[in-house]
């Protein structure tokens, strides 16, 4: 058996090529749709003068959150000089990098004048939370790329890859990188906290948008980032174990499932209670009125978030015997991700559903004039994304999936030393991608 580092996919087989082709096609179609949107104006989206941020911003928030898990999971153990979860460290950072790229790109189709994006650099107003977020997203993305390189550069050198940039695969070098890893972790953790808080403050500083103006928003963003980010690492790691040479340690699936259970509890039980109880208690008089006002949300998004993304995964992950089943953790993670998506959606909706001054006829839509007699007024916000918004968004998400896939194809995401002592989920069963299965490899 060879200890020579290798990428997780040796070469794309038929299914691999189909997968990459699909992602490239979706990305290309997404960019074409964006081009169409630029030519027509944002009129082709579902947004208007009242509901002035839509799917792109919801997904920006969502992908910023998704970028948390991998980086935290790889840096926290390093900060405590532990080798725990080492097997998913580099994969986690790869996922974080891909997520933050998707998040950053999601802003471009949202703005009306993307060709002026450089004004962020030439004329920034440092009072604006969007400028803070721009800086922190850029810093985070750059850091993720550098950190991923730090984690893989010795193996890249051993592979003879030019991506090693002249670094040599020496033992002393690996030792030095391990020390550097500690310092990288010491930067990564506050950087991640800054990223999620600042993204929360984009909303939480707005006194004019009702419930957004809430000091709990930043802690909420941190917790929901941990929930969705950790869940995404689990989903991708389980899939990578199934379809590539990557090995996800079976026992760590259950361990991470337990951590996921804890972070969902803090997010959905503790923080939601902390946010809602004061209003419910102050606003109602009878015991049951307080209780129901506190427990029962008023939108379908609230239920999708707290039940589909909260109660169900909590129940699945609470039972140790269930938690040991990989598919249970997989399903619970998927549901948690879906729940966090709808948390973001309900957050945006609750800023726009009501006008502060709601007298008739309200505000002009900015999208409604079609000749004399057309109604251009509205007194309440409503929003449905259009096909163009969906296609552009799917295109950018496909680009993120492509980054992860290519990372697995060209980077030694898991060192052979770690891989060889890892008892993966699918054991020695054949890998279905790339036409090379594991037994065949193990016999080399």
């Amino acid at each position: 058996m060879s200890d020579h580092p290798k990428p997780m996919i040796d070469g794309f087989g038929t299914r691999g090529k189909l997968w990459v082709g699909l992602l490239v096609a979706l990305t290309a179609i997404g960019f074409i749709a964006w081009g169409y949107q630029i030519s027509q104006g944002l009129i082709v989206t579902g947004m208007d003068n009242l509901f002035s941020w839509g799917l792109y911003i919801m997904l920006f928030v969502f992908f910023v959150g998704l970028s948390a898990g991998g980086l935290i999971l790889s840096s926290v153990p390093k900060f405590f000089h532990s080798k725990r979860y080492e097997s998913v460290a580099a994969l986690g950072v790869l996922i974080s990098f891909a997520s933050i790229v998707v998040a950053g790109l999601m802003i471009l189709p949202d703005i009306g004048r993307p060709e002026r994006i450089h004004h962020f650099l030439t004329a920034p107003d440092f009072r604006s939370p969007m400028v803070w977020d721009f800086m922190v997203v850029m810093a985070y993305g750059t850091f993720c790329a550098a950190y991923l390189w730090l984690l893989t550069r010795r193996d890249l050198a051993a592979m003879g890859s030019r991506l090693a940039l002249g670094v040599e695969a020496t033992d002393s070098g690996r030792e030095r990188d391990r020390k550097l890893g500690f310092w990288a972790a010491a930067i990564a953790i506050p950087l991640a906290i800054a990223l999620h808080s600042v993204t929360g403050w984009i909303f939480a500083l707005q006194i004019g948008r009702g419930d957004w103006f809430n000091p709990l928003v930043a802690p909420m963003f941190i917790m929901k980032a941990l929930v969705s980010g950790l869940a995404l690492v689990l989903v991708v790691a389980i899939l990578a174990d199934r379809f590539t040479r990557f090995r996800m340690p079976r026992d760590q699936v259950a361990d991470l499932g337990k951590i996921l259970w804890v972070v969902i509890s803090i997010h959905i039980i503790y923080l939601v209670a902390a946010e809602r109880l004061p209003h419910a208690w102050a606003g109602e008089f009878e015991f049951w009125a307080i209780t129901s006002s506190f427990l029962i949300g008023d939108t379908v998004y609230f239920w999708l978030w707290t039940v589909v993304g909260g109660a169900i995964p909590l129940a699945l992950l609470a039972v140790p015997s269930l938690r040991k089943r990989v598919w249970v953790v997989f399903v619970a993670s998927l549901l948690a991700i879906v729940g966090i998506l709808f948390e973001g959606i309900q957050l945006v909706f609750k800023g726009y559903d009501e006008l502060n001054i709601g007298h008739s006829p309200g505000v002009t839509t900015g999208t409604g004039y079609e000749g004399i007699g057309s109604n251009i007024w509205m007194t309440a916000g409503a929003y449905t994304p259009t096909l163009v918004e969906l296609i552009v968004s799917i295109g950018l998400i496909a680009l993120g999936a492509l980054i992860v896939t290519l990372g697995l194809r060209y980077l030694p995401i898991q060192s052979e030393e770690v891989r060889s002592r890892t008892d993966g989920i699918s054991g020695g069963r054949a890998a279905t991608d790339g036409g090379i299965d594991r037994e065949e490899h193990d016999e080399q």
Partner: protein, 253 residues
Amino acid sequence: MTSYGMVIDLERCIGCQACAISCSQENNVSLDHQWNRILTEGGDSIDTPDGEYPENGKDGTLEMNHLPTACQHCQNAPCVKVCPVNATYTREDGIVEIDYDQCIGCRYCMTACPYNARVFNYDEPETQPADGTGHVEQRDVGVVEKCTFCSHRVEKGLDPACMVGCPADARIAGDLDDPESTVSRYVRKYETDQLLEELDTEPNTYYIRGEMSPGRPQAGNELEGTEPKETLLDADEEPPNEAVRASSGGEWP
């Protein structure tokens, strides 16, 4: 220092919408938008009263008031603070204005404004006539726009278009930093409020409720404290947009 502001006497306002039309005409506002909106404090739709109709010998409780609403030109303007690229800024004279060439169209200012005073050009602006109206250049697709306090008129010593258009003299503009200006005297003398005062945005727009004021004092179009003008031409030597000139036979005025 100068801090331009406006007092709107709600006791004088008759809800005729003339100021809204004057605004859209002067500022070349797309038919998709209205910078200056005249809301009805009353029933569920425009110009309907709230309350009970007096019938069967009972007392009626019908009541209806109008609330002209546009950019409040806040001193602590959230829209200015959120703009990432300094496209929205507060001028030396207190007017909150937008540099349309600087705006990237991120619409954060629209989200930040508690008054929903801002509109975004989702589409190519559409006006009647198509080439535009009034004295302001049309804004491009993809940028945010709003009431400018008619800064182009104020700079020439003229009152904002909405004031000139008001048949009830309910709008008074002036310098809130000058204690002798009509606006400052009215704010002191009459019962006024600002919209959403509790949000601490410190709007430069005041609304008189209760006792009616004498309203806008001057008969001409000049801004208080500037030279009297015989005609609009004294201050504004630029003709209106091409299309307007052509349709009026090429003569101006």
